[in-house]
Subunit: 220 residues, 2 copies
DNA sequence: ATAAAACTTGACTACTTGGTCAAATTTGAA
DNA sequence: TTCAAATTTGACCAAGTAGTCAAGTTTTAT
């Protein structure tokens, strides 16, 4: 872990991107998928290459043929997640209608958490253990992006299109809530009983969350 | 792990409570405090008794003199947390003013997350790994309590004292947001820069969160 | 068809981990 | 003070753990 270059997200722009064979593409995908499951429940330290390899349907030795180390598997999985994370956030359009823009963003984020809860949990885990691999990313790339969107929200407030709330805390509240349905889904399920597994449940949750947040920030 | 009785929270009522010597009381406290730190960052599987013992300032062998196993240390730490968790929630008074009651609860919860983030993270970790030790507690004790409070909120809505929001999702939103400041504090700090370490920061966060949530549910 | 390159694996190593045990050392009640 | 009970620890063990290596097997370009 020590000394390695932290190249999450920022990298992958100039890299020559060595072409991968069919088998490589397939197996790397299998591994990353298995890794997502194991890392997201057991955390970085608790996860083992044996379990990941088993879940991926291959020997540990073979896994290590595709990735040089445990940390590299983890880093790669994490990077994929973070990239997907950012897109909908970037898409918040300062020129659009605030309520509509935020509704769209919250809906997308809820959907992502719902469809890929493991990714959400893995990210949460990384932050909870002190973000050793992505602290730098948080302080540079993500901070820049958040500052930008905070400014957008501030402008909406100045234009009277939004209630005067602190943009940063509004963003945190949205992130917190949407992640909750992924990270705490065991608790959500336990507390809602069978209700949570019914077909329309996800839409209903989204509706409830949107209703509270959007009314909380509607101009008044 | 397998086969052991799950006695989180529900227990501790009839147990004879063997009296503890001064040294026992002190050392158990030292261990549990160290355990909280290690478990909350490394998770159950990732935590090691060696690290916990070291942080507690004693040998691993000695630690195992006070607790029979790693799981027992973990279970005890978790139990303490959950008990403290529940009190403010229980205290929500159906006969009080809704906004006032919820303001009080949210404030208390934010304060708890702020003062004891490790506890919050440890709990989050337990849920994220599938709640193996407290699933039963979630489905029985906690569910009963939540159902109760949901009814209270529903009554408030029927009386027109609160906007018509789904009580369960409102509770989730409150939990999610308050936990966020503990579980994601590395991210919060990274994104807010020095601002987050300033003295009044916590009060300011509380104000922002309260403002959004309470306005989101005020009758309209 | 064939051989080089790509892929796969079992055996192995050095190290960590939860837990045991017996032998000290310390504590505290009489 | 005194000695049994309580506390503490180093040595140890069996079961993992990440990662290496050399020897195979399969793919693929020709």
């Amino acid at each position: 872990m020590a000394g390695k270059e932290n190249q999450i997200v920022e990298a992958g722009k100039k890299q020559p991107k060595k072409k991968r064979s069919r088998i490589q593409t397939e197996n790397r995908a299998l591994i990353l998928d298995a890794a997502l499951q194991v890392f997201s429940t057991d955390g970085y330290r608790g996860a083992t290459l044996d379990r990941i390899a088993e879940k991926a349907g291959m020997s540990k030795t073979n896994l290590l043929y595709y990735f040089p180390s445990k940390e590299d598997v983890y880093r790669t999985a994490l990077e994929q997640i973070v990239v997907n994370w950012l897109d909908p956030f970037r898409d918040i359009d300062g020129d659009g209608d605030p309520i509509e823009q935020l509704r769209r963003y919250i809906t997308l984020k809820l959907k992502a958490s719902h469809e890929n809860p493991e990714a959400s949990r893995l990210f949460a885990n990384e932050i909870q253990r002190g973000a050793p691999l992505i602290k730098d990313f948080l302080e540079t790339t993500l901070k820049k992006l958040v500052d930008e969107k905070a400014k957008v929200i501030h402008r909406w407030i100045d234009d009277g299109k939004l209630a005067p709330v602190d943009p940063y805390h509004l963003i945190f509240l949205i992130w917190a809530t949407t992640q909750h349905y992924a990270d705490f889904d065991v608790q959500v399920n336990a507390l809602l009983g069978n209700q949570a597994s019914k077909p329309g449940f996800y839409e209903q949750s989204a509706q409830a969350v949107l209703s509270i947040i959007l009314n909380g920030i509607r101009p008044r």
